[in-house]
């Protein structure tokens, strides 16, 4: 209770958002119009913007992704920019709060008149700005905002590269079923559509209606996880899946450990993070974690190229969030380069033409005139010692 809404406001759904969007504006791009007047483009620059959490409990993600995107744009600008236009990237702090995100998105669209929204980090904060983006008709490219509410033609201006939690948990659960013959599952998830999506994904992955998922919704900011741990122990499932903030995941595992309940565990991609493993590695051994972006020590030459280029740009080694920001920027630049002209309709058209775009950092990206979910695959890793080991490369749900 108390300040928990500040600690995190991990998402819950809003049918209202979609209802609004249905009446909000034209769906889909009506083809490239090179003569259209689009804001944010001058003779020498193209202005892009994003909001990410730069302060507060989720700041690590925004700071990292922001640094990754800035490094990529710096590299592109140093090489002459896109079609002779330097990229002018504005990153604003949304505090991971829907209200702050909405305010900052107004700043980007109404005050700074950005050409497009380039990336983003966090689901609840991004979902809050989708109505504004759709109302204003601004293309939004590759935000990291996993949600089953995005990635369809209901939000035609938003081009998603983040796999939603239904798909992520379905892939993870299917792997566990196939490899471990597991028969009983529990799930602790942040109350709302994040938890609900994960549960739906698990049920899809299990593929057997007679096997139920014991679902315990959680609200961040509890002073004692023992009651939830005891509830889990009472259910005594072989596998416990977790979709909580990193802090709550670690604290719940500590509490489970204290009361002697040590099931096998699996968690969403957030735990694939050195900060988490450093803090809670000992209680997270062998945990299976979804992998949305490629491992930084992957032998893929594209990944190695990213590590080298990022290190050269910033004189420090990248982390997973930096990788995320970098690949968001890479997709944006690809779309700008392929656009027949720097107008919003031509940018949308260019995005719709992207097929099987290989970045190495994400699974190959494909959009289309009726396709806004560019990626449908995740890999799986396992926490071993102080690092993660890849157990399944990127794979899609067939």
């Amino acid at each position: 209770m108390g300040f928990r809404s500040v600690l995190t406001c991990f998402g819950t759904g809003s049918l209202m958002v979609l209802a609004m969007l249905a009446v909000a504006g034209p769906a889909g791009a009506a083809g490239c119009n090179p003569n259209e007047k689009s804001p944010g483009v001058t003779a020498t620059t193209v202005r892009l913007g994003a909001t990410m959490p730069l302060t507060g409990s989720a700041a690590a993600g925004g700071l990292g992704a922001g640094a990754g995107a800035k490094a990529y744009y710096a590299m592109v600008n140093a090489a002459g920019g896109v079609h002779g236009h330097k990229i002018d990237f504005t990153l604003l702090d949304d505090e991971y709060s829907p209200a702050a995100a909405e305010r900052q998105m107004r700043v980007l669209i109404e005050r700074d008149h950005v050409f497009a929204i380039a990336g983003g980090e966090g689901t609840p904060n991004f979902l809050a700005v989708v109505p504004l983006i759709e109302r204003e008709g601004v293309p939004a490219i590759g935000p990291y905002a996993p949600s089953s509410e995005l990635g369809t033609m209901k939000t035609p201006h938003v081009f998603m590269t983040a796999v939603n939690y239904i798909t992520e948990f379905a892939i993870m659960t299917r792997y566990v079923r196939e490899s471990d013959y597991a028969r009983s599952f529990s799930l602790v998830g942040v109350q709302g559509n994040v938890g609900d999506d994960a549960k739906a994904g698990m049920e899809q992955g299990i593929g057997n209606p007679s096997i139920k998922v014991d679902y315990i919704p959680e609200i961040p900011g509890t002073p004692d996880f023992t009651p939830i741990a005891t509830q889990l122990r009472r259910e005594n499932a072989e596998w416990t899946f977790l979709i909580l903030t990193n802090t709550d995941t670690g604290e719940l595992l500590e509490a489970m450990h204290r009361i002697g309940y040590n099931p096998r565990t699996a968690a969403w991609a957030g735990m694939n993070d050195p900060g988490y493993i450093k803090a809670f590695g000992p209680v997270s051994q062998d945990m299976i974690v979804a992998e949305e972006t490629a491992a930084l020590d992957s032998s893929d030459p594209l990944v190695q190229q990213f590590v080298t280029q990022f290190t050269k740009e910033t004189e420090r080694a990248p982390g997973k969030f930096e990788e995320l920001g970098w690949v968001q920027a890479e997709l944006v630049v690809k779309a700008l380069q392929d656009a027949k002209a720097l107008t919003r309709s031509c940018l949308m058209d260019s995005l719709e033409q992207i097929r099987d775009f290989k970045t190495g950092l994400l699974p190959p990206i494909t959009f289309g005139p009726d396709r806004r979910q560019g990626v449908n695959a995740v890999g799986l890793v396992q926490i071993k010692g102080g690092k993660v080991v890849e157990i399944v490369p990127f794979r899609a749900l067939d």
């Binding site: 406001c9 809003s14 709060s97 829907p98 979902l127």
Partner: protein, 333 residues
């Protein structure tokens, strides 16, 4: 020698009164000019921010009534603001016609004010603060747990209020709507300050015991203060939702209530100008920090300012300005 002062003295009050009238006239003209200039001279976003200042001023005036004037510390104020905002947000999906909504907001705010006021009548100090805080928490909890209706912590979009060509999410229209309610709230508060009720509130704030011995109906006064405060906040929230077009619980949480308190104390409790200055602070200063690229320094400043003002300038900026004026006057003399 005596003749000069004797002749001079009777004239001075008239001169002062005339000076005050001129001052008031000058202020009115300057404010009107500034009000007209904002949408003409400033950009779309800046006008939106000006509208926000006015909306927050209405809510701050509300907290000023219950805390600044009646002395009841409320940490649930942002919840009343939220009550109004969610009334606007839910009116669309629930099919509540526009003309019913203002009455509904007022009724809900009155009910909310009574619900918070009655259990807290016997309380003061920490108990009062915590019970109001718990009410605020319960509001947050209710929003979080009515997913299907409110979108929970995700928030929900609010369809604009449209009357003919008027659209509440249009920049100038929003500015106008905010201006109307801000003007109304300011005039009402000015009237309240001059009324018997306003004086009763001050008496209750200064000493319940003395007020009771003078026959001031303490319970009635406190409940009225809570209700008025809730109605102001509810009305402000209702306009806020229509202007911003999006509501989510973080706008109405405990921190938001604390910031309203910051606004009242910073501006100067019990003063209309103070509420306006406080509102300008909580809306504009974060924008300034944002503009210079250090948004995370605002909470540090917010905490520091709250401490500094409470310790060194308990009457807030208004008192500070009066002190400066007095100093200047002294020097002139």
């Amino acid at each position: 020698m005596r003749l000069v002062p004797d002749l001079a003295v009777p004239h001075r009050p008239f001169q002062r009164a005339a000076g005050r009238r001129h001052g008031a006239l000058f202020s009115a003209v300057a404010l009107t000019a500034a009000w007209l200039a904002i949408p003409v001279l400033l950009g779309q976003y800046e006008v939106f921010i000006a509208a926000q200042v006015m909306i927050y001023a209405v809510a701050t005036l509300g907290l000023d009534i219950v805390y600044g004037r009646a002395g009841q510390l409320s940490l649930a104020h942002a919840s009343f603001f939220g009550l109004g905002a969610y009334t606007a947000a839910l009116s669309g999906p629930l099919g509540i016609p526009l003309w019913v909504q203002p009455e509904l907001v007022v009724l809900l705010a009155i009910a909310g004010g009574i619900i918070v006021a009655v259990p807290t009548l016997r309380l003061s100090g920490l108990r009062l603060a915590l019970v109001t805080l718990l009410f605020g928490e319960l509001f947050d909890w209710a929003i979080d747990h009515s997913l299907a209706l409110t979108g929970g912590s995700q928030g929900m979009t609010v369809a604009p209020m449209t009357i003919g060509p008027f659209n509440s999410q249009g920049t100038v229209d929003a500015y106008l709507l905010a201006s109307i309610i801000a003007l109304g709230a300011t005039l009402l508060t000015r009237q309240l300050a001059r009324s018997q009720l306003g004086r009763r509130m001050l008496a209750v704030r200064d000493s319940e015991l003395a007020s009771a011995s003078l026959g001031v109906p303490i319970v009635h006064t406190k409940i009225t203060a809570f209700i008025l405060s809730a109605v102001f906040a509810g009305a402000a929230g209702w306009v806020y939702a229509y202007v911003v077009g999006f509501v989510s619980p973080t706008t109405f949480n405990l921190f938001a209530s604390v910031y309203f308190l910051v606004a009242v104390i910073l501006g100067g409790a019990g003063r209309i100008t103070g509420a306006w200055l406080g509102s300008a602070y909580i809306v504009l200063v974060p924008e300034v920090f944002n503009l210079v690229g250090y948004p995370n320094l605002f909470p540090v400043l917010g905490g520091g300012v709250l401490i500094a003002i409470a310790l060194f300038l308990p009457g807030g900026l208004v008192e500070g300005a009066a002190l400066i004026r007095a100093q200047l006057g002294l020097h002139r003399r």
